[in-house]
Amino acid sequence: MLLRAGSIFALCACLVFGAFSHASEVIVHSSVTEQVLSKQRLRLIFSQRLTHWPDGQPIKVVVFDAASEEHQMFCEAKLGLLPFQLQRNWDRLIYSGRNSAPVFVSNVQQMIRAVSSTRGAIGYVPQSFMLEGEIEGVNVIE
């Protein structure tokens, strides 16, 4: 009985931990003064419809590879968009000469490096990564 309860508890913990590990936190370069961004604002930024921060800095969007689970989870949870909807927005802007492509990264280390070293950059990391403590050079957006 105890063994069975313990197994169920462990399974639930894995599921919960798994859910948290797929939730995303939005991060920005430390030069960005915005602390709170609404879902609508995030959608406009990652769609590259908004191109500059209020202080005039260009916004540089950094995302995981479009086919990655991280990117899919971020799009659905934080933007309320499906990845293909975001991709269509990018395609329309880039191929008409109205904007440049976002930066694509393959792993969390590349994401951190890109956002922390590029003024005005915005990206996202798994929430579980943030539990390890602050990351130098980036701020977390609420």
Binding site: S38, Q40, R41, L44, R49, L50, T51, H52, W53, P54, G56, Q57, P58, K60, D65, A66, A67, Q72, L82, P83, F84, Q85, Q87, R88, D91, R92, I94, Y95, S96, G97, R98, N99, S100, A101, V103, F104, A114, S117, T118, R119, G120, A121
Partner: protein, 411 residues
């Protein structure tokens, strides 16, 4: 061309003068990418191949680059090679766009900017990316709105554009976005485009030196768009080097909307083009409204389509579309002009009803395959490619099947 370069240089100089020289430049401030595609088309009309044969001369190659030398200045360029059977035979690489973009006012919610050079025209939801397989829902867009014959007229301008956007984030206006643009410049007509409009019987060329374009877009949960264009056409006769200024003018407006809900997207556009012919092109007999020797011809066409698109999963998508075109909104099926008279306004030459169905498969973000089927009633797509020396086909129905594979790099 010197006006174009002068506009670009002027914008650059102003932007440099306004730039904050203490700004830290972003890393990797440039990007180059490209797209290659190969297709095949089988149409049982003379739309793509004059003899109605299968055409493999369906290719597009695009190389695109952006460079940001300053925080609020971007240089963008795209070169393109395009073949579409007899409609657009191979003619080397052309400059699709080359522009300098300067965003001189940004507040986070508001942006105001200008671009100059060879710029893409925003006239219709898909016009400025109509040649990009990855940025359009199908190989052939709704032909009533995105006509191959008028492609050169509306694709791009050598000139300048002022644009802006505003996003509301409070009160009842939350989630509302507003964007707009006004452009002025010259459209570039190729010899093939002239032949597509005038037919093979008429020699010469067309210029469209004065064009005004404007657009307004509201972004709610759906987007509502309004587009306008005015163009003056000048005809140059090949013999005697005679030019006919103000030969005709085109007034064009489009209203459109697009609504997305989860995996489903609904798009619709309605357009009217009024052509006013002040002096007919010579000689007569060409398959174009501009060749009709009636003087002061004024006619308004009517176009609309409804398109549904569904993303089955990240790789597969499908679309269906109903598309309707009338050359004359006051004589929608050309009944006032005798049929078989080889007048572009007569009968089945003056309209086209198209029902389309297609799928796309994108196994990775780099590869795209598309397959589609169009069932067309009427030959509104076809004139004036249609050879006036041949008898018109009695069967008003024809089909077109198209397939395409595309690959992109640099993403």
């Amino acid at each position: 061309m010197h006006v174009l370069l002068g506009s670009m240089l002027y914008l650059m100089l102003i932007a440099v003068a306004e730039a904050n020289i203490n700004d830290t430049p972003v890393t990797k401030n440039w990007n180059v990418n490209g797209v290659l595609s190969q297709g095949v088309i089988d149409a049982d009309s003379s739309f793509v191949d004059k003899d109605g044969d299968i055409s493999w001369d369906v290719r597009e190659f695009t190389l695109n680059g952006q460079y940001r030398p300053l925080l609020n200045v971007t240089l963008a360029a795209q070169v393109q090679y395009r073949e579409l059977g007899d409609l657009a035979p191979a003619d080397g690489v052309e400059l699709d766009h080359l522009l300098v973009d300067w965003r001189f006012a940004t507040t986070g919610n508001d942006e105001l900017g200008a671009r100059a050079g060879r710029i893409k025209s925003v006239i219709g939801i898909y016009n400025d990316t109509r040649d990009m397989p990855f940025a359009r829902p199908s190989i052939f867009l709704a032909h009533s709105i995105y006509s191959e014959a008028l492609r050169d007229q509306y694709l791009r301008l050598d000139g300048a554009e002022l644009y802006g956007s505003h996003y509301f984030d409070s009160g009842w206006l939350t989630d509302l976005g507003l964007s707009w643009g006004v452009a002025y410049g010259e459209a570039d007509y190729t010899d093939q485009a002239f032949s597509n409009i005038a037919g093979d019987a008429v020699l010469g060329s067309l210029d469209s030196k004065e064009n005004v374009r404007a657009h307004l877009q509201l972004n709610l949960p759906m987007s509502l768009d309004l587009y306008f264009s005015y163009a003056d056409l000048e005809y140059h006769m090949e013999t005697d080097k005679v030019s006919v200024p103000d030969q005709a003018n085109l007034t064009h407006w489009i209203a459109g909307f697009q609504w997305r809900w989860n995996k489903f997207e609904l798009t619709s556009e309605y357009a009217e083009i009024r052509i006013k012919v002040n002096r007919p092109m010579m000689p007569s007999g060409g398959m174009s409204l501009m060749s009709i020797q009636e003087g002061n011809l004024s006619q308004t066409s009517q176009s609309y389509y409804f398109q549904g698109r569904y993303q089955f999963n990240p790789a597969w998508a499908g679309f269906i579309r109903y598309d309707m075109y009338h050359l004359d909104k006051n004589d929608r099926y050309g009944k006032e002009v005798p049929d078989h008279s080889l007048d572009i306004r007569s009968g089945s030459l003056s309209y086209a009803r198209t029902r389309s169905l297609g799928v796309s498969y994108q196994p990775t973000s780099q590869w795209l395959l598309m397959l589609e089927y169009h069932y067309v009633t009427g030959y509104g797509w076809v004139p004036p490619m249609f050879d006036p020396n041949e008898s018109p086909m009695d069967d008003k129905n024809w089909t077109l099947i198209a397939a395409q594979v595309a690959y992109r790099f640099g993403w």
